[in-house]
């Protein structure tokens, strides 16, 4: 492998683009901890970070700064005089020094964890709101496939020309290790188009959304098949659920 190729492989790795068999090769080199692999990885990470400067400028709202500082337990500066600040600090020290030393440390750690969890929860809430907005959109249509018989796979497919396809499935079969479900958009002409892979929960239920462009006039059906982990470019097993558009 030439040096240029090695640079490229580490850059592809840093971007999350490297595929087998080179992925395993580079991961083995990185795990070995050799100075050269560490140097190449750091250089790739540095170039990766530099790509962020290609983003168009977007101004964050001023409230975001306050929000982040408050979430981290860091208050914004105020216009207090030094005397006021000194008095408050002294009072706080006197009141808290004996009683709350150890307890405060413990609580601070707990609070940091809770704040981080809150940030993650807010992100999850945003995702749920996105899904709800999709379902509420007047352009979204519901389609069904499968039978209502107990334990038979059943799917509800919501399609929206502007926002893609949302699949809600139940009674999905339990999969062997290394297998996933893959959704397909079946055009009226041509082969099925991959629309993402997903797994079901323990009860066989799954929620999966594809935001790829969706043209109802050119699409005949939405189908589900079982595929190897990572998905397939074309179905390798017979689709077991087909929802006509």
């Amino acid at each position: 492998m030439s040096d240029t190729n090695r640079d490229a492989l580490y850059e592809l790795y840093a971007l999350g683009l490297l595929e087998e068999p080179e992925l395993s090769e580079i991961e083995t080199e990185i795990r070995s901890g050799s100075p050269e692999s560490q140097r190449l990885l750091r250089q790739a990470m540095a170039n990766n970070a530099l790509l962020s400067t290609l983003a168009p400028v977007a101004e964050p709202p001023p409230r975001l700064r306050r929000r982040i500082l408050a979430a981290a337990g860091v208050e914004e500066k105020t216009g207090w005089t030094w005397l006021g600040a000194w008095g408050l600090a002294t009072a706080a020290l006197l009141a808290g020094f004996v009683y709350f030393g150890t307890e405060t440390t413990r609580l601070r750690k707990d609070t940091v964890g809770v704040r981080e969890e809150l940030a993650v929860t807010q992100t999850e809430l945003r995702r749920s709101q996105d899904t709800l907005a999709f379902l509420r959109d007047p352009g979204t249509t519901i389609l069904k496939s499968g039978t209502a018989e107990e334990r038979q796979p059943i799917a509800r497919v919501f399609v929206n020309p502007g926002q893609g396809v949302l699949l809600m499935a139940n009674n999905l079969p339990r999969l062997e290790p290394g297998k996933v479900f893959e959704m397909w958009l079946v055009p009226k002409t041509g082969g099925p188009i991959p629309a993402g892979t997903f797994a079901a929960d323990g009860s066989g239920s799954a929620l999966h959304r594809s935001t790829a462009g969706f043209d109802p006039a050119a699409t005949a059906a939405v189908a589900l098949s079982v595929e190897p982990e990572g998905g397939s470019p074309a179905p390798t097993t017979t689709p077991f659920l087909i929802t006509g558009i």
């Binding site: 640079d7 592809l12 990470m45 970070a49 530099l50 790509l51 400028v57 982040i68 959304r209």
Partner: protein, 196 residues
């Protein structure tokens, strides 16, 4: 698509090292400075990825809390805080996008692992400054349209090469060639001597 380079404040490694040391010491003022220095850039990257202001705010908050809470593992002497913040920001945004799309690439490396603070040490001292940003922008505009597209799809949408081939209706081999050529050309331009 037309890009504007982010105008950096002076991002010299000396002041970043001092800032990192103060962040490790949990100085509240240091977090304010970190946000003032990298908040707009982090938000810009996230907004470019998710294209949703409310989600971008949530993810920017998550980014800075993650950095603030993981400073204990950061080497203030040898580390580069800016690239770390931007990597965390990009990874949070791509994770969000993949989650919303229900899209998890088998070949995508685990993003959380790719933002370990240990990866951001001993980087060259001029990684992020306005001159290198200009150099990158110029190099980026020298690329062909297809090469620019695949770099954008990889960096700002987190697509694998297979997913790019699907999106662009091109053979996988063609996409791989575009990606590798683009990376090589960018690398060659960035390896040009830089005067700071």
């Amino acid at each position: 698509m037309f890009f504007f380079p982010i105008l950096f404040a002076a991002l010299d490694s000396e002041s970043d090292r001092a800032l990192a040391a103060r962040l490790k010491a949990r100085e509240p003022e240091a977090l304010r400075e970190l946000y003032d220095k990298y908040g707009r850039l982090a938000y810009s990257v996230i907004f470019r990825v998710v294209r949703n202001a409310a989600a971008a705010e949530d993810l920017t908050q998550e980014t800075f809390l993650r950095v603030w809470n993981r400073m204990a593992g950061f080497d203030a002497e040898r580390g580069s805080i800016g690239p770390w913040v931007l990597t965390v920001a990009r990874n949070r945004a791509i994770d969000y996008l993949r989650s919303v799309d229900g899209r998890m690439s088998q070949n995508a490396i685990e993003l959380t692992g790719a933002e370990s603070p240990a990866l951001f040490v001993d980087m060259e001292s001029v990684i992020l400054n306005s001159q290198r940003a200009k150099l990158l922008k110029a190099a980026f505009h020298k690329l062909s349209e297809q090469q620019r597209t695949v770099i954008e799809l990889a960096y700002f949408e987190g697509l694998s090469q297979t997913e790019m081939a699907d999106r662009l209706s091109q053979p996988l081999g063609t996409v791989k060639t575009w990606v590798r050529t683009a990376l090589r050309l960018l690398r060659e331009e960035l390896e040009e001597p830089v005067t700071v």
